[in-house]
């Protein structure tokens, strides 16, 4: 999905500082301080994790930190709610499988 450059009511979207981060090892860019999930959506990433039991994909659902469906492994820590965690330069963001970034975890 794309960023809204100019909005009829809100005007020009604020220009933030671009930072780089990795998503499953791939270098992406986002705006510093925006939720990790926003940067991912702009990059077209919809699936944040695969569930433990049914191995189904999940992504952003509530976008306000309530439903916890958008959790990923961030800087090595699992279960990070990407919709409310601000993006920082150099962040290591990984798809979560079950409770870890190891694909096997979701198939145990």
């Amino acid at each position: 999905m794309e960023r809204i450059q100019t909005h009829p009511i809100l005007g020009d979207s604020p220009k933030g500082k671009l930072v780089s981060f990795t998503y499953d090892g791939q270098v992406l860019q986002g705006i510093e301080g925006e939720p990790i999930s926003a940067a991912l959506r702009v990059a077209g990433v919809m699936t944040h994790r695969y569930t433990k039991k049914r191995h189904e994909p999940r992504g952003v659902f509530c976008a306000i930190g309530r439903c916890t469906d958008c959790v990923m492994v961030v800087n090595g820590m699992p279960n990070i709610r990407t919709c409310i965690t601000p993006l920082e330069e150099g962040m290591d963001v990984r798809t979560q499988y079950g409770a870890s970034d190891k694909r096997e975890e979701a198939t145990l």
Binding site: R3, E34, M46, T47, F61, A63, I64
Partner: protein
């Protein structure tokens, strides 16, 4: 030492901030905690103009009301702590708050819970697929984080949230392919529905989602019609190619803290709420609740409820005497009760109101399709004919709102003392075509019409809040209330003004016989 305050407010939304302001004005020292990085609660996602009257901040956009509240809070010395998550409410009115990397303990002589609401959900096949989101999520993405939630969206839910967010999605540049609701009638304000319908969004009432498809992300959605028992009728399936499905099926109070604290609770059709009096006092002395957490309503009501709780708390702690409290409560009560009047009053929830207060039949087309039919519109007192330019007010439901009556410098428009009355256009006063009424209408239901400008043409001036803004001379198609093509149209004037607050007045030239049908402009 545990930090102690006169008043601890949990939630810096409209209710919490209003309560803290009212308390601070009476001399209390309140502290407000909010888990978000920005205060204002949902106000900052609400980019539409509010309904009500001046005292309810009508015709001001939600986020601007939020800014006003923040200013007022800071002027009155309210301490607002952000990124501060209250994780527990314990005996002795103690809260534990996660701030940064630690947990702090605070005690309040009073505690006000104003944590708002969370979205309800419905299940359907595929509802966990990435791309199915809450309407609140869509609002958060587009209005706070400035990203499009999706390109093609189907909205489930025709309450005010579903309607308002659908419109916002279009403002953000997304295509809304359909608005679907299992109920047989639209739940939200007719004016909200009408402004989507005239853009061409189809409404599917008595329909719901059968299935969302897509292995890794949404790629389609199938809906079907429901019978009286809410079972799918075979053969009525319709499939849409979408990348996003947005769910707006109501809100539930986030009352967990009150429950944890042991406040007496009651389960209601509107959610699990604390048992409390009119000013939000719960069963535990010193613990109060205001806003959506005490029962779902609009932000305008939440602000008044917050003020009432703030005054009540000031009295509880001896800052405000009983007489002064009663006087203040009476004043606020009046403001609140006017918001709870009309067709959407709490007692009318779920009911079909068949006639307006004026005795005019309710438009079933509006309730079932999202627009008033062409042959119904002239029944309403705001829809008049006249020579020369004149307002046509397509306001057909009794809702608490009256900015239009103050907007007209000539006094053309009258609502009277009953805030829910339908606006009446006075025939004997000359309209100067200034358009203030058009921009003032939160429901975007006012148009300026001039039947005859010569050569068989007339003009229609309509409120326009999309980008790109059409230019003078641009040719296109006029759409009717139902969003279908009516005739050719040409933009002959575009007016923008600070006073209009981002609502542009677009005047299009259409053939005279279409001036009462053409209600939207679509560029070619």
């Amino acid at each position: 030492m545990i930090k102690r305050y006169d008043l601890i407010v949990v939630g810096a939304g409209p209710a919490g901030l209003s309560a803290a302001i009212e308390a601070a004005k009476n001399g209390l020292k309140p502290i407000v905690f909010d888990e978000n990085a920005k205060p204002g609660g949902q106000l900052f996602k609400q980019i539409h103009k509010f309904f009500g009257s001046k005292e309810h901040k009508a015709k001001i956009r939600g986020f601007n009301i939020g800014d006003e509240l923040l200013r007022e809070a800071s002027e009155n010395g309210v301490e607002v702590v952000l990124n501060a998550t209250v994780i527990g409410l314990y005996d002795g009115k103690e809260v534990t708050v996660k701030i940064g990397e630690e947990i702090l303990h605070y005690k309040g002589d009073s505690v006000l819970i104003a944590t708002g609401a969370s979205e309800n959900m419905v299940t359907f096949k595929g509802w966990t697929t990435p791309g199915v989101i809450g309407a609140g999520a869509a609002q958060t993405m587009m209005n706070l984080h400035h990203i499009k939630p999706g390109n093609k969206v189907l909205m489930l839910g025709s309450g005010n949230v579903g309607l308002v967010v659908s419109y916002q999605l279009m403002q953000a540049g997304c295509e809304v392919v359909a608005l679907v609701d299992a109920a047989p009638r639209i739940g939200g304000y007719g004016v909200h529905a009408a402004k989507i319908a005239r853009c061409g969004v189809p409404f599917y009432l008595s329909h719901t989602i059968v299935e969302v498809t897509g292995a890794e992300a949404v790629n389609g959605v199938t809906i079907a019609k429901l019978d009286e028992n809410f079972k799918f009728i075979e053969g009525t399936e319709k499939t849409f190619e979408v990348d996003t499905v947005c769910v707006a099926v109501g809100l539930s109070p986030m009352s967990q803290l009150l429950k944890q604290a042991g406040c007496e609770m009651k389960d209601t059709p509107g959610g699990f709420v604390p048992v409390c009096d009119d000013s939000g006092a719960t069963s535990i002395p010193g613990i109060y609740a205001a806003g959506d957490v005490a029962g779902i309503e609009e932000a305008s009501s939440a602000m008044i409820e917050g003020r009432m709780s703030g005054a009540r708390i000031a009295n509880y702690l001896g800052y405000l005497d009983e007489d002064a409290l009663q006087a203040r409560l009476a004043e606020l009560e009046q403001a609140l009760s006017s918001l709870r009047k009309g067709m959407f009053a709490p007692e009318n929830r779920g009911k079909l109101v068949t006639k307006t207060e004026e005795g005019i039949d309710t438009s079933m087309s509006l309730l079932e399709k999202g627009y008033v039919a062409d042959d119904e519109i002239e029944k309403y007192p705001g829809v008049t004919k006249g020579s020369g330019v004149h307002p046509v007010i397509e306001c057909t439901q009794n809702i608490p709102c009256n900015p239009c009556q103050d907007a007209c410098p000539k006094g053309c428009i009258s609502i009277g003392s009953n805030i829910t009355s339908l606006p009446v256009v006075k025939g004997d006063v000359a309209c100067i075509g200034c358009g203030m009424c058009v921009a003032s209408c939160s429901g975007q239901a006012i148009f300026l019409v001039e039947d005859d400008i010569g050569d068989g043409y007339g003009t229609v001036t309509l409120p326009y809040e999309f980008l790109p803004l059409p230019e003078v001379g641009q040719k296109g198609i006029a759409l009717g209330r139902d969003g279908k093509e009516v005739c050719k149209a040409e933009v002959i004037n575009v007016r923008s003004s600070t006073a209009f607050d981002h609502t542009h007045l677009l005047t299009m030239k259409v053939s005279t016989d279409m001036v009462m049908k053409a209600r939207f402009f679509k560029a070619e």
